[in-house]
């Protein structure tokens, strides 16, 4: 029997490996069909609210949903956005994949998934729950695609977003008060303020372009003040054949380059990452920084500095517009057998209660806040809320332009670094980006 003993471990390992390779061989406990309230129903939800504060909001919302729905259990899977982007597409093709998941907007994520028929159109549920009265058309079109997944910004609704985002200027209230500086009302005032701050020996704009993506926001924030809302819509949705190589974009690039050359950015900004640049700003290094409302929660904890927020002001005589939009939406897997329950969950995610919890966590809700929520607005959160409401009511919510093509993000990052590094001129910058854009428009014809 000696040979038997020596074979045993090998056989066990082999068996284990075979089971591991063939996941479906592992027995799964049978799931009850929707509606059978006596046994437990599990709703699998993937979200990317992994930071402490955000995660706590999700836990609270999920617990309250379970309480209101006896027999329903929410199985929450938390991932970072990077991780979610890489794993979600395959997971949605699985028959046991997530029932509800946060799907990033834009062509390479939501568009590709609609094209592969992985997401459930939500038009009927939108009517049932009245989502049309919660969100403006400008907001819902960001989560919409035609059923073939080719045209962005119209067609079916595929997701609802609980949070909102706006890009603007954070400023250090202490530094401003000390020098008697005021929040500028026009872009011209803003630029002379930059020169004044620089002359006082302070870094005007805390900035770091090593990670790349936030340079897109610096450029595009200026761009949004020069172009029209129609242009930004056309550019991002890929309709009406607009070009990136236009004088307005060139001018925005010139202004950005001028800021860099005038020393308005943190010294050595090309070698500083986004988080490091924010750490410097938070420590009182730099008078202002240009980024999104998502940083507000971060700037009120563990710091003795006081910060405020304002929209990058418009050029004299021109209207205001800012990069903004709604956060990553929740969507439903097409093949789920719990669509009704999933839709109810989505409705809960955009309820007044959700708005209240997000606001209390210092994040902008995409839904309007209930009057009686008792949210303190005489603070940094209040500043971002006013900024969001201003652009939302004036139809001045712009776009994150890197959604425009699947390669736009990488192209913009590389070309902006070249522009700021003196390797290309503003004209060469817009021409290089247009090359990417034109190639994409050709490919979807």
């Amino acid at each position: 029997m000696k040979s038997f003993h020596f074979l045993t471990p090998i056989l066990i390992i082999t068996a284990l490996l075979l089971v591991a390779c063939n996941g479906s061989a592992v027995p799964v406990s049978p799931e009850p069909t929707d509606g059978s309230s006596s046994t437990a129903t599990t709703l699998v939800v993937w979200d990317q609210f992994y930071r402490d504060v955000e995660s706590h909001v999700m836990e609270t919302l999920n617990a309250e949903f379970e309480q209101a729905h006896p027999g329903v259990k929410i199985e929450r899977v938390v991932k970072t956005l990077d991780d979610l982007k890489v794993t979600l597409k395959l997971a949605l093709t699985e028959p046991n994949g997530p029932d509800v998941a946060q799907v990033n907007q834009g062509r390479s994520d939501m568009g590709a998934m609609v094209q592969a028929d992985l997401l459930l159109p939500l038009n009927a549920y939108s009517e049932q729950y009245g989502w049309g009265s919660i969100f403006s058309t400008s907001v819902t079109s960001r989560n919409s695609f035609t059923p073939d997944g080719k045209t962005f910004g119209q067609g079916n609704l595929y997701g609802v977003s609980p949070t909102a985002e706006v890009v603007g200027v954070y400023y250090n209230k202490g530094i401003f008060a000390e020098h008697g500086w005021q929040v500028p009302q026009t872009f011209e005032e803003f630029e002379s303020l930059l020169a004044e701050i620089k002359a006082a020996g302070i870094t005007p704009i805390s900035f770091g372009s090593l990670d790349g993506w936030n340079a897109i926001h610096e450029f595009s924030a200026i761009q949004h003040l020069l172009v029209t809302p129609e242009y930004i819509n056309n550019l991002v949705y890929g309709v009406n054949n607009v070009s990136f190589d236009i004088p307005e974009n060139q001018k925005a690039a010139e202004i950005l380059l001028n800021w860099a050359n005038s020393g308005y950015f943190t010294e050595g900004y090309a070698g500083i990452g986004y988080d490091d640049s924010n750490l410097l700003f938070k420590a009182g290094n730099g008078a202002m920084t240009i980024t999104g409302s998502w940083l507000a929660g971060e700037l009120v904890t563990d710091t003795d500095q006081q910060f405020g927020f304002f929209l990058l002001p418009p050029f004299e005589g021109k209207s205001s517009m800012a990069i903004g939009g709604v956060g990553i939406p929740f969507a439903i897997r097409k093949t789920t057998d719990k669509a009704d329950l999933a839709a109810e969950y989505l409705n809960w995610m955009v309820s007044p209660r959700a708005a209240e919890l997000w606001a209390k966590a210092g994040m902008l809700p995409a839904m309007s806040l209930p009057e009686d929520a008792g949210i303190e607005t005489d603070n940094l959160f209040g500043d971002t809320l006013i900024a969001w409401q201003t652009i939302n009511t004036n139809n001045a919510v712009g776009h994150f332009i890197d959604w425009a093509t699947p390669t736009f993000y990488d192209t913009l990052v590389a070309e902006l670094q070249k522009l700021l590094g003196g390797m290309s001129t503003p004209a060469e910058f817009t021409a290089a980006v247009q090359k990417d854009y034109a190639a994409y428009l050709d490919s979807i014809k």
Binding site: I10, L210, G268
Partner: protein
């Protein structure tokens, strides 16, 4: 060596049983995925939908006109200097210092010098991002303290210096590996060679050139193959430090493949890039081994 000879009384198939667990792991997690990647490279596929279109060699034809990939690959070639050439030179120098002399605290030096090799690449990247930070990084602070303020740079954000800066991190990681490899090999060299040569009046440098390096040839070949492969397939280090920037000046093949596969939904094309990269690595490795066996035969 006679690989097919079994021990008396033992059946041949038992040998296969011994390797079976390892073989299975290799087949399932390495070999089959490689075959699958090669198969995918002939399709146009986004990586998840059921629509997979056979396009033959289209992905491969596209690759040769893809300026991003060609440029990225040229950066990989530059990285060979930092991953392979410099670490081997430093490794040789350190090994000859630590290997034969009776330096006090030698084990300490061996351990400390090998340490970078043990740390995860992501951690290495984070550490060096901090060292290179223009505002509060120790490198620029030290330069300023020494009165060399004019030499401070935004290292990782500088178009000409970013590639050598990332490369020097790789050197920092790889030289310890080369050193340990050479130290082990030096145990094999008989002490008499050194004694005899020093009686004949050879200097330490001459001993290094004529005794140590020729004797270490097998170790040098291993170090070359391992580090060149590391230079060609680098992803983590660049991703953590610069993500290929500024302006694609540190773009490497691994980043281009990652972008195509996971961000741009071009899994078929990414598979073609990966296949070509694999073939290049295979060819270079075989070439080095070929030269090695040739020189051995000449002797």
């Amino acid at each position: 060596m006679q690989p097919n000879r079994a021990y008396p009384g033992e059946k041949k198939w038992k040998g296969w049983l011994y390797v079976l667990p390892g073989l299975l792991v290799y087949l399932v997690f390495t070999f089959i995925p490689i075959l699958e990647t090669i198969r995918t490279s002939f399709y146009r596929w986004d990586g998840f939908s059921s629509e997979k279109i056979f396009v033959g060699l289209e992905n491969y034809a596209r690759l040769f006109t893809d300026n991003d990939f060609l440029r990225a690959f040229s950066h990989n070639l530059v990285f060979i200097i930092f991953y392979c050439l410099i670490p081997i030179l430093i490794g040789l120098a350190l090994a000859s210092l630590l290997g034969r002399g009776k330096l006090p605290g030698m084990n300490f030096f061996r351990t400390v010098l090998f340490l970078p090799q043990v740390i995860s690449m992501v951690v290495v990247g984070v550490i060096w991002r901090w060292i290179f930070n223009p505002t509060f990084g120790p490198l620029n602070l030290a330069l300023r303290a020494l009165g060399l303020g004019h030499l401070t740079r935004a290292w990782l954000g500088d178009f000409t210096l970013a590639l050598p800066a990332v490369g020097s991190i790789a050197t920092w990681v790889e030289y310890g590996f080369c050193m340990i490899l050479f130290l082990a090999g030096m145990q094999r060299i008989p002490e008499e060679y050194y004694e005899a040569s020093s009686l004949d009046g050879a200097s330490r440098f001459q001993q290094l050139i004529h005794i140590t390096i020729p004797s270490l040839r097998p170790e040098i070949v291993v170090a070359m193959i391992t580090t060149i492969i590391a230079a060609l397939r680098v992803f983590d280090l660049v991703y953590v430090t610069t993500r290929g920037g500024p302006g694609n000046s540190t773009l490497v093949a691994g980043i281009v493949i990652y972008r195509a596969a996971f961000l741009q939904n071009q899994t078929g094309y990414a598979a073609a890039l990966a296949t070509v990269l694999m073939l290049i690595i295979l060819a270079i490795s075989l070439l080095i081994r070929h030269f090695q066996s040739q020189t051995v035969e000449l002797e």
